[in-house]
């Protein structure tokens, strides 16, 4: 909400600067988003002018030569470049000597041979906003010509742009803000503008009103003003409206806007002579239309609240009035409506129609019904001031203002919740300044809540009022004394951190991926039609179709990130992510298993002066990374060939990661078609189920005895069929080599012509050792022979010596 400072100070002036007032408001709960200065340094030489003639400049297509009455004996000749200037307009004129906001002084000057004595100003040229579509055209009532412009425009004004929290619609009027300022500073608060009511209650002749749904319209009031004749909006009111961002339009409309600005209650004025029959507040029937004030035809949907007469809808309640009953210069009889509406319905309707106005923005917060009568009272003063008329006797009033509520508040609870030692006086003072009544009985306060504070219903609501006005800066800063003692990571959380750290140690950067992905990802990953990963959680209202489902694999956003880096020229790309995937579950929610995964592209080791062109990373490099992670957590794991290779991996260069004997992920070279799809040169990837790691990682590591006796190292090279995997050979060796075999690794793989096409030589390196004695070479050789025999028996292995 834009609050002209001068208007705020009319109600409460604490003698502080705009910045100081902003700070006071911010620290008591009214955020000030911006402080803007409007207008010019010195408003002398700015006057209201009336354009008498506007003729084409003889030597310039785009200029007009205007004769402008500026209140002097002779009209001034002013050359103007604005396309919208026209005879008859009331305008803002900077006369020679005027200093513009940029510091330029207006002088008499010849423009293409015609002497110009001043400038007709646009909104931005006066420091009043950004408008530069053309000159600022003032209402004809702004005159007479020659009047100081500062009387009708806020040429010397400061505007506070406030962010009012949704629980405080009482602060959507300047007087409510003034009350906050009063409460926070103690400066005097002027009497409320609605205290004097020139109208009367009782039946109102001349209009019948009925309200069909009181939930949608908690209160509806109306008064009639008759005998209106030509009048002028007082310049100060026009200036305040302008400063608050509302253009002065006509006295009746200005009255409604000014009441809204000051007390937060939007009013609506009907031309009574244009209403056919009585008014009914009712739900719209689907398809009903209303021509609104902005000249559009609006089609209503079932249930939206309208105000109708016998001719159909005349206005969309709380959102926008209808053109059919619009007030104009010819209007002499006005029906002034002050009502409140069901906030959420107003919100829905205004959002649907794209009609967000100062009024709907207030109504959607759910205004207190008491504002309706306050609005009528304040308006009655303005009608008298401007038109010299008072309302016709009687007021339509349908609905109830509501009972004032009382909240019980324990003194102890106040200090317990705040952590303070406030006295009864310090508790009641802020409340009373905010308009609450306070009575103390023993330890208990009875707090009477003002009618416009619908947000205060419980003791904690009252405590908030005390805390914010007494001052949160006065609170001590303490730490809870008992402490819970639960301050540690769970095992799962600790292992997740260890996995992340191990991946970092393996030379990978963690990426932050998106949970959203595009449905097309499944095709890009070549997933089969029945692949369960196609079954994703779908958003009802995604930002875009590209972000319309939740990921079922980490691979998509890892590939996206890798592709971006590749496109930017990165050569070694090693990205990982840990996080959940989202799998639909039967209860309509999701299973969110944690995974870790990586995409690696580029050289397997850093190119350097010894090896400037290392081989590219391959599946075994990826297995090395996974192994580093799993070994650091002491998990039992192995890689086994996949019976059904992942469709996005190279079928011959990929496998299943088994942890503790169960499949827990996949690893492999990317399928060339997938690499190409993302613009990558090769690349490998893996994804592992974190829960499998967590359950396989031993909770506690226990010591096992290391042998004090020396080892015997022996090698064995065997030729086997190429279909026999190294893992099979090692498994057999471990089985039959026990207990002397301490470890076995593959140290050589060789394929060559002399072995035959379908054979491979595998070099195994054994370490033999005994726990209780020094093993002899002969004993070791016997074990080696035992292993060789088993390999021959079971896999047809031939020794190569």
């Amino acid at each position: 909400m834009k609050v002209p400072l001068s208007l705020l100070l009319e109600f409460c002036d604490p003698g502080l600067s705009a910045e100081e007032i902003s700070s006071v408001l911010a620290l008591s709960g009214t955020e000030v988003e911006r402080v803007t200065r409007l207008g010019v340094e010195d408003s002398s030489n700015f006057v209201v002018g009336v354009v008498l003639t506007a003729d084409q400049h003889p030597d310039a297509d785009r200029l007009k030569v205007c004769s402008v009455d500026v209140g002097a004996p002779e009209p001034a000749t002013i050359v103007c470049g604005a396309p919208n200037v026209d005879a008859g307009q009331t305008v803002a004129v900077a006369l020679p000597g005027a200093v513009m906001p940029g510091g330029m002084t207006i002088k008499k000057a010849k423009l293409r041979g015609v002497e110009s004595s001043g400038m007709i100003c646009a909104e931005d040229e006066l420091g009043l906003g950004k408008g530069h579509q053309g000159i600022l055209v003032l209402p004809n009532t702004a005159g007479p010509a020659g009047r100081p412009l500062g009387e009708v425009l806020p040429l010397d004004e400061t505007v506070l742009e406030l962010e009012i929290t949704p629980n405080r619609p009482d602060c959507l009027g300047v007087y409510g803000v003034a009350r906050e300022l009063h409460a926070a500073t103690g400066a005097e608060l002027k009497p409320a503008p609605w205290e004097r009511d020139l109208g009367s209650g009782g039946d109102l002749d001349g209009i019948q009103v009925s309200v069909e749904d009181s939930d949608q319209c908690p209160i509806f009031t109306a008064r009639i003003y008759e005998g209106l004749s030509a009048a002028v909006t007082p310049p100060a009111i026009a200036a305040h409206l302008t400063a608050a961002g509302m253009r002065p339009i006509s006295p009746v409309v200005d009255i409604t806007n000014y009441v809204m600005l000051v007390i937060g209650e939007p009013l609506h004025a009907f031309d009574l002579d244009k209403i056919e029959g009585g008014l009914t507040v009712r739900p719209a029937v689907a398809g009903e239309t209303v021509a609104t004030l902005d000249g559009e035809d609006r089609t209503l949907i079932e249930g939206e609240t309208i105000i109708a007469d016998v001719g159909g809808p005349t206005s969309i309640a709380g959102v926008m009035g209808g053109a059919r009953s619009e007030v104009g210069w010819e209007t002499t009889r006005v029906l002034l409506e002050a009502a409140t509406w069901h906030g959420p319905s107003i919100n829905r309707t205004s959002a649907r129609l794209g009609l967000r106005s100062e009024a709907s923005g207030r109504f959607e917060k759910g205004l207190a019904p008491v504002l309706a009568s306050r609005g009528q009272a304040f308006a009655s003063q303005l009608f008298e001031q401007i038109y010299g008329v008072t309302p016709v006797a009687g007021t339509v009033a349908i609905g109830a203002v509501g009972e004032a509520t009382t909240v019980k508040l324990s003194h102890h609870k106040v200090n317990s919740l705040m952590g303070s030692q406030l006295t009864a006086e310090r508790i009641s003072a802020p409340l009373e300044r905010l308009g609450f009544t306070v009575a103390l009985d023993g330890d208990e306060f009875s707090v009477g809540v003002p009618l416009d504070r619908l947000d205060v219903t419980r003791d904690v609501d009252v405590i908030e009022e005390i805390a914010r006005i007494d001052g949160l800066e006065k609170l001590e800063a303490t730490i809870p004394t008992s402490g819970a003692g639960g301050g540690r990571l769970t095992r799962d959380q600790r292992i997740r951190r260890q996995v992340q750290d191990a991946l970092v140690s393996a030379g990978c950067f963690e990426a932050a991926g998106w949970s959203f992905c595009a449905p097309g990802l499944s095709d890009r990953l070549r997933l089969a039609a029945d692949d369960p990963r196609r079954n994703a959680i779908t958003l009802v209202n995604p930002m875009s179709s590209e972000e319309s489902i939740l990921r079922t694999t980490l691979l998509g956003s890892l590939l996206d990130s890798a592709a971006r880096n590749a496109a930017r020229g990165a050569s070694a790309i090693r990205l990982f992510e840990t996080g959940p995937v989202y799998l639909p579950s039967e209860d309509g929610l999701s299973d969110e298993p944690q995974r870790f995964g990586a995409v690696l592209c580029g050289p397997a080791t850093q190119p350097d002066w010894r090896n400037a062109s290392p081989d590219d990373v391959d599946v075994h490099g990826a297995i090395g990374v996974i192994g580093g992670v799993l070994d650091s957590l002491h998990c039992q794991w192995k890689i086994v060939p996949a019976t059904e290779p992942e469709p996005f991996l190279h079928p011959g260069r990929s496998g299943v990661i088994e942890i503790a004997g169960r499949p827990a992920g996949w690893v492999g070279d990317l399928h060339p078609l997938v690499s190409a799809e993302w613009g990558l040169d090769g690349g490998v990837a893996f994804e592992v189920d974190l829960d499998a790691v967590i359950s396989a990682s031993p909770e506690v590591l226990h010591y096992w005895a290391v042998s004090a006796h020396p080892m015997v190292g022996q090698d064995l090279a065997v030729v086997v069929d190429a279909g026999v995997s190294a893992a099979e050979l090692i498994e057999i060796a471990e089985e039959v080599g026990s207990p002397e075999l301490e470890s076995v690794v593959v140290f050589d793989i060789y394929r060559g012509e002399q072995l035959g096409e379908n054979a491979v030589s595998v070099g195994l390196r054994f370490v033999f050792r005994a726990d209780d004695r020094t093993l002899t070479e002969e004993e070791a050789s016997a074990v080696r022979q035992r292993i060789l025999d088993a390999l021959q028996d079971r896999k047809g292995a031939q020794s190569r010596g």
């Binding site: 730490i479 402490g483 990978c508 990130s561 929610l589 969110e592």
Partner: protein, 350 residues
């Protein structure tokens, strides 16, 4: 014979004295002490001598051999030191060349680092870490957190829905609700994680990260909240930091506050004589929202967990955005950088 031995010794010692390399010495060792040399021959022939000569000749020849070996070894030792020096000089490498093989750099994402840093602060203050689902029930995300039925945050323009009663959580507060349902007070817990809102502009991404905290215990007060958040702010932004609380509004807390930390980039809003860009000259930076848990929130769990009787328990809650904290602390100018995963960005914080 004895004369000949002493002659050999003299000649050999002279040659050893004149030798200049260890290779020469090795040649001399062969020449004077090798298989075919004279002295070993004399020694071997001692047994054939007249018994009266055997003693003195054998002794002298043996002494001579020992003496010669000693001379050669001594000389050899003196060469070895010098030659080792020489060889080490010749073996020198360019120590400024990079390691081999050079380790690939790696690092945690700035968001993870920031999350861990904050988690560790609260672990130290005695809080546990709770987690919960991201696909969440409306009941936990809004209803239990005192959002009115028409609260705008529920609108499909603000919140991602998966079904009528299922959404992507908009904050990690539902984790607090779930935790209260299974854990009676005292409860000190933080809930980090991914959250989602339908915003996508310069300062919002539809997915971001939060840490929310909850403390429920006897007599927990607003002053305790202030002290806790002060400890947090000092830990994250530096010991000189102060905080201030500004009243605000949230549906799930009452009273509610926004919390500012004193700017760490300027002095009273002025930096190098200019208005500070970080705090916009205000000397304060908003970092989080907080407040005392609204009794309605306790009431929503008290049915299942009666220990949360709103008449009896008090608590505070707070919530902060990890992205914002990371960007403020590390001068990251654009939120998008955090999700772009450019390696040149990632390695800056490795």
């Amino acid at each position: 014979m004895l004369e000949r031995i002493s002659q050999i010794v003299d000649e050999a010692k002279a040659a050893v004295g004149a030798a200049t390399t260890s290779a020469e010495l090795e040649e001399l060792r062969i020449k004077w002490l090798g298989r075919k040399a004279e002295l070993p021959n004399i020694l071997r022939g001692v047994k054939d001598l007249d018994p009266s000569e055997r003693g003195p000749a054998g002794k002298a020849a043996n002494q001579a051999r020992v003496e010669l070996e000693g001379a050669i070894d001594t000389k050899m030792a003196s060469f070895a030191g010098a030659e080792l020096e020489l060889r080490l000089v010749e073996d020198a490498v360019d120590i400024t060349l990079p390691a081999h093989p050079q380790q690939f750099p790696g690092g945690l994402h700035l968001l993870t680092q920031t999350m861990r840093e904050i988690e560790d602060v609260f672990l130290g203050l005695g809080y546990g870490i709770a987690e919960g689902p991201e696909v969440e029930l409306v009941a936990y995300n809004f209803d239990a957190l005192n959002h009115a039925p028409h609260h705008p945050a529920r609108s499909p323009s603000d919140t991602f829905y998966v079904g009528d009663s299922v959404l992507l959580r908009t904050h990690t507060s539902p984790v607090q609700v779930r935790t209260m349902l299974v854990t009676p007070p005292p409860l000190y817990v933080i809930a980090p994680g991914r959250v989602y809102r339908r915003d996508d502009d310069a300062t919002h991404t539809p997915q971001f990260h939060q840490i929310e905290g909850l403390a429920v215990d006897e007599g927990i007060s607003l002053a305790d909240l202030k002290g806790t958040l002060l400890a947090f702010a000092k830990a994250i932004f530096g010991d000189e930091r102060e905080i201030r609380l500004r009243p605000h509004f949230f549906p799930f807390t009452e009273p509610s506050v926004e919390v500012d930390v004193s700017c760490f980039a300027c002095n009273e809003g002025v930096s190098n004589g200019e208005r500070c860009g970080l705090c916009k000259g205000t000397a304060w930076i908003e970092i989080l929202g907080a407040g005392m848990v609204d009794p309605n929130v306790f009431a929503s769990v008290a049915g299942e967990q009666p220990a949360y009787d709103p008449e009896k328990v008090q608590g505070f809650a707070f919530g902060l955005g990890i992205e914002r904290i990371a960007m403020l602390k590390h001068s990251v100018p654009d939120l998008r950088l955090l999700y772009d995963n450019d390696i040149r960005f990632l390695e800056q914080f490795a």
